[in-house]
């Protein structure tokens, strides 16, 4: 039942679950990025997301650490004032997506960054991702947002920064891997019982109020 244990403490299998939310203007490719990451697929045409889509994906890190992402892929046309916070509430990390061929999309991304910095978890990890790199690579004239500009902005705001292509897959995995590496390792629980798997959500994301009980029930 239990996972094999290593004598070296740092190699003890550990598991954690994190809530990740994707935000950004409509049609910048949020769902496409998620689908590239989760299913390694790409569809040229994708219907618009209504409300939010929800997917999960597991990432393996060195030292036997397993991270499960609960991914909330929101609708770009998030004008819902009281609905949007519901999606990023308790999120541990966020990917804010813009389209490097759409000038206005970075502005919208910056608004999201501001909103998250104000409203979301204090220690939320935010990554900024410029999508549709394939277009700019095949025809440089389509690029409307300079990499340096977005990069400078990211540095100022202390964000992770990437340029990616959901179509070719370039850079997509890297976003999630990099986020995973930055997530607070201290919170990880040894993956020695299913109970941790079950409780991790309570411990780390959605319901913090129950964490004390869950911790004490650990029987390893």
């Amino acid at each position: 039942m239990s996972a094999p244990r290593s004598s070296i403490a740092s190699d003890t299998p550990r598991f954690a679950q994190f809530k990740l939310v994707l935000l950004g203007e409509s049609a910048v490719g949020k769902s496409s990025i998620v689908h590239r990451f989760v299913k390694d697929q790409f569809d040229e045409f994708r219907e618009s997301t209504i409300g939010a889509a929800f997917l999960t994906q597991t990432v393996l890190l060195p030292n036997n650490i397993t991270i499960k992402f609960e991914i909330w892929d929101t609708a770009g046309q998030e004008r819902y004032k009281s609905l949007a916070p519901m999606y990023y509430r308790n999120a541990n990390c966020a990917i804010i997506v813009y389209d490097i061929t759409q000038e206005s999309s970075l502005e919208k991304a910056k608004q999201w960054v501001k909103e998250l910095q104000r409203q979301a978890n204090q220690d939320i990890i935010i990554a900024l991702a410029g999508n549709k790199l394939d277009l700019a690579e095949s025809d440089p004239s389509t690029r409307k947002i300079k990499k340096e500009d977005a990069f400078t902005y990211s540095r100022e705001e202390n964000l992770l920064f990437f340029e990616v292509s959901a179509k070719t897959g370039e850079g997509v995995k890297n976003i999630f891997q990099s986020i995973a590496k930055k997530l607070p390792i201290d919170d990880f629980k040894p993956a020695s019982s299913n109970a941790n798997l079950r409780n991790s959500r309570h411990n780390l994301g959605v319901d913090l109020s129950r964490s004390s009980i869950n911790q004490s029930s650990c029987n390893c």
Binding site: F45, R46, E47, G51, F54, L83, M86, N194, R201, S217
Partner: protein, 626 residues
């Protein structure tokens, strides 16, 4: 040739429909009873049904010509009055029109060649016209100018939003790739927005509009394009043969020339309730609140699992179910069937829809409870509703049914030809009708009978499930570990029950010991669960005398067995609070139907007592160790 055959076929169907049904209510009833459906190929015409209900509101063919004429002229005028500001778009947009070009000409020529060239390129929509004016408000002193600027900005942003959505409408169904059609749909939505600026255009409306177009297109495309004789008067030709006259009117009903015009009118009429209830955020959240309340009454078990235990906020998944009127939850051919039923329902469909969704939940309750392990699995399940389960009988679940997101979610439009056929299966169509009828049953009943109806519906659809696990004795059914636990507990419970039956209820040491060791590590969870459960009770509306008594009984049991530390204290406090906030009310007793209360009481009793027993056993096993 095919076109002509199709045309004659649908004229025949229309005529038969008109002959067979006395009036509109008669037709609607036959839809709801499952008689008038696409399998009835001799007579069924969805266009006729939808237009009779949503356009003519009558089966009296003599009134139709005038209504068609008025409605079509009406849209023509509105469309002219509210032309989208195409000239403000980016010049790179294929929707861009410079101001001095004749709009109509451009729409007509809206070249497909252009589209093909553009097919892999992103839509360049934003000219930054708005951005150029960044902060112009400060420079505009005149309030009228300000208002005009804001209006202009809003119009442009809305147009851009509509275009982005229409561009991604039903990917895979080729007719929606034509720029001409896309523009026409954009204009319908734009006019709608101008007429309803207080609500505004919101994502999802485009798909409702698209579905209506698709439904009308499917049959109307069989007809030869008319000469646009909508302006002619068809009503006064007394000398003509009545039969020929009817043919002419029916041809006019199907006239593909006016597809878009009629789409607009039907869209307007379908949206009347949803635009208020679902597309205004505050009202939508109220719907979700009401949904929770109703679910609590109809299926307290599902309510407990989804909302109390897993804390899934209904609005998260309901938004798509409701705003799209189930378009994405079913395959399109069955969406057609469910919409036939919805439009045949004589009252506000936004009141019926939540019950349909509750029925959908009840039908997959087994999967939710037995196959989903946690919050994320249940939510994934809800967001990829396993449509095939809706049609399956209440059989024993065979193995694990994988989430079929591929089928229900993202690849639905791959096989577009099937969708255009709107083909359905007899058995599935009957299930669909049943689903709607069950929901209407709930709709028609008083709220105080919801509990009873819920039990009956569960008896009908989840008979085996109730046998399979005793749901109300264990809410922790979400991990394998817990399932094992549950199994053990059931085994022990049965053993204890037998023993009790033999009057030997005090000396179940062996069984108790075994169970205690199973639960050795879960005492906190058990406490936690009781405490959750009391929370649930406290928030519930079904408080009655029996539960109150049960609670105080349990309280005594806990008290007499000592202190379990802080958790116990908290629990005790909760019981106290519960008692305070729910003083004994004699009038409550017997107010509700006995069937309802009994079942509820049994659930609560079992649950509380089991939990208390667990704690006691845990304590006794600790003692024996010491």
């Amino acid at each position: 040739m095919d076109e002509l055959m199709g045309e004659m076929d649908y004229i025949k169907r229309a005529k038969k429909t008109l002959q067979k049904y006395e009036d509109l209510d008669d037709l609607k009833n036959s839809v709801l009873s499952g008689e008038y459906n696409p399998l009835n190929e001799e007579i069924f015409s969805r266009v006729l049904l939808w237009k009779a209900v949503l356009l003519f509101n009558s089966l009296d063919i003599s009134s139709w010509s005038k209504i068609l004429r008025d409605s079509r002229n009406g849209y023509k005028n509105l469309n002219q009055q509210f032309q989208p500001p195409y000239h403000k778009l980016s010049e790179e947009s294929e929707y861009y029109l410079s101001n001095n070009k004749n709009n109509n000409e451009n729409v007509a020529n809206g070249s497909n060649i252009n589209k093909i060239n553009n097919i892999n390129k992103p839509q360049k929509l934003v000219k930054n016209e708005v951005d150029k004016f960044d902060n112009p408000l400060s420079s505009l002193t005149n309030t009228k100018d300000k208002r005009q600027f804001l209006q202009f900005k809003n119009d442009l942003i809305t147009l851009e939003t509509i275009i982005i959505d229409v561009e991604r409408l039903f990917p895979g169904i080729t007719i929606f790739n034509e720029l001409k059609l896309k523009k026409e749909l954009v204009e319908i939505l734009y006019v709608w927005y101008k007429l309803n600026e207080n609500i505004g255009y919101k994502q999802g409306m485009h798909e409702i509009c698209g579905l209506i177009y698709l439904v009308l297109y499917k049959e109307s495309s069989m007809f030869v394009r008319g000469e646009g004789n909508g302006d002619q008067d068809n009503g006064d030709q007394d000398n003509q043969d009545q039969n020929q006259d009817d043919d002419k009117i029916i041809r006019e009903v199907f006239n593909p020339e006016y597809l878009v015009f009629d789409t607009f009118q039907i869209f307007i009429n379908i949206m009347i309730y949803p635009q208020q209830s679902f597309y205004i955020e505050k009202n939508f959240l109220n719907c979700c609140f009401k949904f929770n309340e109703d679910l609590k009454e109809i299926d307290p078990n599902l309510y407990y699992i989804l909302i109390k235990k897993l804390k899934i906020e209904s609005s998260i998944w309901l938004i798509r179910y409701l705003r799209l009127i189930l378009i994405r939850e079913f395959k399109l051919n069955y969406v057609g069937v469910i919409w036939d039923n919805l439009i045949s329902f004589n009252y506000d469909i936004t009141k019926l829809l939540p019950y349909i969704i509750i029925m959908m939940l009840i039908k997959v309750k087994k999967e939710i409870i037995l196959e989903c392990e946690d919050f994320s699995e249940v939510l994934s399940y809800l967001l990829h509703y396993p449509i095939d389960r809706l049609f399956s009988e209440d059989k024993e679940t065979k193995g694990i049914i994988k989430l079929k997101s591929e089928e229900n979610g993202y690849n639905r439009y791959r096989n577009s030809n099937d969708i255009l056929e709107f083909k359905i299966d007899k058995e599935k169509s009957e299930k669909m009708t049943e689903l709607v009828n069950d929901s209407i049953l709930i709709f028609n009943s008083k709220q105080e009978y919801f509990g009873e109806i819920g039990i009956a519906l569960n008896e009908k659809y989840n008979h085996n499930l109730q046998k399979k696990i005793n749901l109300y004795n264990d809410n922790s059914v979400f991990t394998n570990e817990n399932k094992n636990r549950n199994r053990n507990r059931n085994r022990n419970r049965n053993r204890n029950r037998n023993r009790n039956r033999n009057g030997n209820n005090k000396s179940g040491n062996h069984g108790n010991h075994e169970e205690a060791s199973n639960h050795n590590n879960h005492n906190n969870t058990a406490l936690d669960d009781i405490s959750d459960f009391i929370d649930n009770l406290t928030n519930g509306t079904n408080v009655n005398n029996n539960i109150y008594q049960e609670l105080s009984k349990s309280e005594k049991v806990i008290k007499s067995n000592g202190n379990f530390g802080n958790s116990y204290k908290n629990l005790n406090q909760k019981i106290g609070n519960f008692r305070l906030s729910n003083p004994l009310s004699k009038s409550e007793k017997g107010q509700r139907n006995g069937y309802d209360i009994d079942l509820e009481r049994v659930r609560m009793e079992n649950k509380l007592q089991k939990r208390v027993q667990q704690m006691l056993k845990k304590k006794s096993s600790q003692k024996s160790k010491n």
